[in-house]
Symmetry: C2
Subunit: 301 residues, 2 copies
Amino acid sequence: MPTPHHNLTIGVFDSGFGGLTVLHDLLPLISYANYIYLGDTARLPYGSKSRATIVRYALSSARFLLAQGADLLVIACNTATALALEEIRADLPIPVIGVIQPGAQAAANTTNPPKNRVPHLRDSLTVAKVGEPPQISTEPPHVIVLATTATIQSHAYAQALKALGLEATEKACPLLVPLVEEGWTNHPVTAEVLRIYLSEALATTPHATTLLLGCTHYPLIRPLIQSTLETLGHPLQIIDSAYATAQATAALITTQLPNLPQSPHPTQTFYATDSVEKFQRLGSSFLGQPLNQVHLIDLGG
Amino acid sequence: MPTPHHNLTIGVFDSGFGGLTVLHDLLPLISYANYIYLGDTARLPYGSKSRATIVRYALSSARFLLAQGADLLVIACNTATALALEEIRADLPIPVIGVIQPGAQAAANTTNPPKNRVPHLRDSLTVAKVGEPPQISTEPPHVIVLATTATIQSHAYAQALKALGLEATEKACPLLVPLVEEGWTNHPVTAEVLRIYLSEALATTPHATTLLLGCTHYPLIRPLIQSTLETLGHPLQIIDSAYATAQATAALITTQLPNLPQSPHPTQTFYATDSVEKFQRLGSSFLGQPLNQVHLIDLGG
């Protein structure tokens, strides 16, 4: 049953806890909104499942937040954005924003502009015609994207980055979510897994300049990713989409929902489809503050 | 819609692929039956979720196999057995067998009988009364159980082992399923994770004699578990429940379904709730033979 409300209400959903890193960046930037967060923990992970299953799960999560009174939906999950953004936009009558376009834009913003890069011969076999200068051009900046298997297989990041003039190497990292959920965020095993994944990506892309964290769990191991890159001698610029998504959400409110009143007493309501106790315990480390009240909700399944 | 049948049909289910290790042992032992296997891959893993969610998922999986014509149900999943065996038995009108009781029995069968063990003073502070012999007794054999978080938290193995006169140390190993599903079954990272989990369990139980693999994924890393134990200087007897469950199923057919005709042309039918392509690919390594036809089924969620 929809909750009656008169003030701006933002719905945020993820398959679990990772989306709380996006909510963490939304709260100070759009402090005047009510928030409804849904973690679809009974059906997580999304990242190892098929497109059809992810679309089904993501649609039911999105419809739940709409029914709860969301005026705007933030898909705070890379996998759901990659596989189901278009389906959710077609289904819901409210503005919907995902994390991939803002993440790709953030990578583009921090990549060195072309004038600062060293030009390469695009094709060393090209022979310049007499009287013409040699065919020199710059290679586009190269980004390594780390994400779940489903996100990588969708190529959503490669497409978003290509539209912004960036090349991408996509690397599926299926063990990182379990390691973060085990709490091994600063553990030698996680460092070794990162060394393996990053070495494999860098072997094919030694000229990469930027590393895009394409899963909302990964900001929790950002320090370990940074130290691993330094150990490997590749100190890439690290980007995550949380802050960029929060900024894009603020811009979207200005353009599409300018007349909705701000909440004088902003509220945060949390829903989970599995254990609320576990959600409170794990969620607080993602949000960076304690979670008090979490409601259990059954979306079927 | 139920499939009509006249010959013995065994339903087997797991949250995913692990139960295929049980089917692997059922096939040669009960070769005259038709098999229907369900992998609830859209909702896996069960092992990190709550009792209420696991019971809901396991019941719908069990009911599906009943509707397909199963005469007997094998819950080939430790987590579903630990959390939902009683609920499924109460719900289904057919015999239901899980993997925990057979696994515990197998551990009891291979534990040294009391007469071969060195007696200990149960309580060194006990002072023998004058004229009486010192209070000497034997400690019960001790088993280390490795399993998912949900199975461990249920204490189903400790209770089953205690009823057989064995003490248990239960150790949750949440990273082992993701490592097996990543295919890292003989990988240094998996060896290091095993070293950590086994060292922690052995630190509290240096006198353990038996290691019980309480998850159907773990037989795939049995050689690595064995070599890790040897490196640690604790060559425990390793037990898994797959073969014991197959034996218990055969005994149950003899006692409870003696009159069902054997199938002259035994069939194997596979269902999965998520990608059938992934089920075929991963499942063949668990079953030890190629999986040809897998049907997609929607159990909701």
